[in-house]
């Protein structure tokens, strides 16, 4: 039995909105970071779904690219978080507001 594409898209949208809300509302930097990963994976899900739907492998290829970039981004992001913690002794991003006029 083939699962209709709408199912995947609804799940993907739900994951994406969860990620966006998490990024905008959570205060812990690591949680924000995890939410960003969630958004990336929701996009991956959509790509896989469409790839299967159209019987075209390009979407799967893109997912690998996204995963590679996500890995690189994760290493840099975590490094920033560590550096941030060492400087500020906090991961509360409300308190990290030095980048203003």
């Amino acid at each position: 039995m083939k699962i209709p594409i709408e199912y995947f898209l609804v799940l993907s949208a739900f994951m994406f909105v969860t990620g966006v809300v998490g990024v905008l509302t959570r205060r812990n930097a690591i949680v924000v970071f995890m939410c960003i990963e969630l958004m990336l994976n929701s996009a991956n899900l959509s790509l896989i779904a469409f790839s299967s739907y159209y019987g075209n492998s390009v979407g799967q290829l893109f997912v690998f690219f996204v995963m590679t970039v996500a890995a690189a981004e994760a290493s840099i992001g975590l490094a920033i978080i560590i550096a941030l913690f060492r400087n500020k002794m906090t991961l509360n991003i409300d308190e990290v507001n030095i980048l203003k006029w």
């Binding site: 905008l24 507001n97 980048l99 203003k100």
Partner: protein
């Protein structure tokens, strides 16, 4: 050789490049001087070869165009970089390269030991390059290139000793004055060029002049001729733009000889002669040229009567002689004017170089009241200077007599008796001030070792005093300087023989006149001067002017040699007149009051303090403060919280998506 004529232009440029870029590394004065004069010497030989070759051609084929390349080709206007080798440009080329070569040789001696020896020769070569473009160019644009180029070189060379004082200011100010006054004239010249292009649709000499001979709107001709003449008054130091030339004496003396006597200042005369057909078609402007020329001649000569600086006297003499040349142009005696350009180049260059030799011997002293009795110390300078003074005074059979008398004759025959009287009075004044200079310098008591100030005859105190340290006697200049003097003296003697008037020379007629005749044929046909004067009149006028000149010389001898007290008495009796002459008719002061100061005041009070400080700066600063004020509000958006930025970004993306989807 005609096809090689471009080398007469290229060689000086080469000399300029070598001396200009490597001169300070070469250092050896002999090498620099040899390069600098060698290229000019070669140019002269090529010009001479082209002249000989042209001489062998039949008269109709004596005009050759040497096309080098297309310079501009835009929007229907095509300018070729081409040189025109014809009778007129050959005469001028021979003068410029010949006299130029002699002066280059002299400069090796004169500039010996100068810290910028190489720079001097580089500038001189650049000048010859520009001057040759001016003369040889076959269209107005190449002429204008040379016209501006010689102006630049004049500026550079007047200010050559830029760290020296000159009168009340510096040589740099004198150079600036020359440049700015010339610009006024150049503006007129440019307008003339624009109008020529508008009227005749070309800037090429041959096309313009052939179209001009069948064109017949006298008003347009007058306008073009007037604009061109304004250009000529600037370059050739005529009223009202002559004020820069006396100040140009701030430059080294060979520069005064080459640029401000023999060549550059005659560019205006050359240009009028070249455009003779345009001028001949505008009789009113011809009259104006004659009147301005005559007036300048007598005006400058009268100032020259009382000046005490040897170079100043010669400078006013140059202005006066240039006035003669314009008088000749104005009465349609084009070949006589060019003839005077040539003879004047010989004897005036000689006078200046002689003056340079004297100044050298007198340790930079230029005041003739501190000279006297120099003839036994400087025999070569003395003899050549005397020849030049006789030549400029118009004593037969020296060159000046023939050229000056031809001009006087034409001003009588084609012009009017008034112009002739002005011319003769000027020639008397010329003889008088030249021999005043001569007697005060070479004859009489030696006044150069007296260490006290001379009697104050003028109001202005002389800044230079006798150099109290030098007790050595004046000495003759080295061979490198005296040989050029001797060559020029020989030319001043024999130079006139090629232009012996037809009434004396029998069947050959006036050789110089015949040579140039084809160039001015159209203009002469248009002018149609065929006077009904007799040979008797011509000889009578000639005799009169010689008698006047001789009596002026004897008068100068009486006043300055026999009874020196007379000069002071006369000056005392006519104090008002004397002061007017001494102060050069207050022309500089009048220009300062009417032109210079208003511009300076307007610039200071309005353009700077109001326009620049208030309006322009106000707009710029106002823009900045408005933006600053607005930023004060907008910068609050940047609160440093990354999540807020992300929020704004997401709203933006959402809005963009909505717009894209719902469109």
């Amino acid at each position: 050789m005609i096809n090689l004529i471009y080398l007469t232009v290229a060689l000086p440029l080469l000399g300029f490049l070598i001396n200009g870029f490597f001169g300070n590394k070469i250092k050896n004065e002999k090498v620099i001087g040899a390069i600098g004069s060698g290229v000019i010497g070669l140019s002269f030989l090529i010009a001479l070869g082209a002249f000989v070759e042209t001489l062998q051609l039949p008269v109709e084929e004596r005009k050759n165009i040497v096309n080098l390349f297309t310079w501009l080709d835009v929007a229907g206007i095509k300018i070729n970089f081409a040189y025109q080798v014809d009778q007129l440009s050959l005469v001028m080329s021979l003068i410029v390269t010949g006299v130029g070569f002699i002066i280059h040789i002299y400069s090796i001696g004169y500039m010996h030991g100068d810290k910028s020896f190489w720079r001097f020769f580089a500038y001189l070569n650049l000048f010859i390059f520009a001057m040759m473009n001016l003369i040889l160019g076959d269209n107005f644009v190449v002429l204008f290139l040379g016209w501006e180029g010689v102006g630049l070189c004049s500026y550079l060379l007047i200010g050559f000793w830029y760290d020296r004082k000159f009168e009340k200011s510096t040589t740099a100010d004198a150079a600036k004055k020359a440049f700015i006054v010339n610009r006024i004239g150049d503006f007129g010249f440019l307008l003339g060029m624009f109008l020529i292009y508008l009227t005749f649709g070309s800037l090429n000499f041959n096309e313009v002049f052939s179209r001009a001979s069948i064109y017949s709107n006298e008003f347009i001709f007058s306008l073009i001729a007037l604009f061109l003449f304004i250009g000529a008054t600037g370059k050739s130091a005529q009223i009202p733009l002559f004020v820069w030339l006396p100040d140009a004496m701030a430059g080294p003396t060979p520069v005064s000889a080459l640029i401000h006597a023999a060549t550059m200042v005659t560019a205006g005369v050359y240009m009028v002669a070249r455009c003779s057909i345009i001028f001949a078609s505008a009789p009113d402007i011809m009259m104006l040229v004659a009147v301005i020329g005559a007036f300048t001649a007598i005006f400058a000569a009268s100032i020259g009567l009382v000046q005490n600086d040897i170079k100043k006297v010669l400078a006013y003499s140059t202005i006066s002689q240039l006035g003669y040349m314009f008088l000749a142009m104005g009465v349609g005696a084009f070949s006589a004017g060019i003839f005077h350009v040539m003879t004047h180049a010989f004897f005036k260059a000689l006078l200046f170089l002689g003056a340079g030799s004297i100044i050298h011997a007198m340790h930079e002293q230029q005041d003739i009241r501190f000279y006297g009795g120099l003839k036994k110390y400087m025999p070569a300078t003395f003899k050549t200077f005397l020849i030049a003074a006789l030549a400029i005074s118009g004593i037969p059979p020296l060159s000046g007599f023939f050229s000056k008398d031809e001009i006087l004759w034409y001003s009588f025959a084609n012009g009017s008796i008034v112009l002739w009287i002005v011319g003769v009075v000027t020639s008397m004044m010329t003889a008088f001030y030249m021999f005043r200079l001569y007697f005060l310098t070479f004859e009489g008591k030696e006044r150069f070792n007296l260490h006290k100030e001379p009697q104050q005859r003028g109001k202005k105190a002389e800044p230079e005093a006798v150099d109290t340290h030098h007790s050595t006697l004046p000495h003759e200049s080295p061979k490198l300087m005296t040989i050029p003097l001797i060559v020029l003296a020989a030319l001043s003697i024999v130079g006139g023989f090629i232009g012996i008037p037809a009434i004396f020379s029998g069947e050959h007629g006036n050789l110089f006149h015949n040579w140039l005749e084809p160039v001015f044929k159209n203009a002469n046909n248009k002018l149609n001067y065929y006077g009904t004067h007799t040979h008797f009149e011509e000889i009578l006028l000639m005799a009169l002017s010689v008698i006047f000149a001789v009596s002026a010389i004897l008068l100068a001898r009486y006043i300055y040699l026999k009874k020196p007290s007379i000069a002071d008495n006369i000056a005392g009796k006519f104090k008002g007149l004397y002061n007017v002459l001494w102060n050069k008719y207050y022309v500089d002061e009048i220009y300062d009051a009417t032109v210079v100061n208003p511009i300076v005041k307007t610039s200071d009070k309005f353009l700077w303090r109001i326009n620049d400080n208030k309006i322009i700066d106000g707009v710029v600063n106002g823009t900045a403060s408005v933006i600053g004020l607005a930023s004060g509000y907008f910068r609050k958006v940047q609160n440093g919280v990354a999540q807020f930025y992300a929020f704004i970004m997401i709203i933006g993306i959402a809005a963009a998506l909505f717009w894209l989807i719902l469109r």
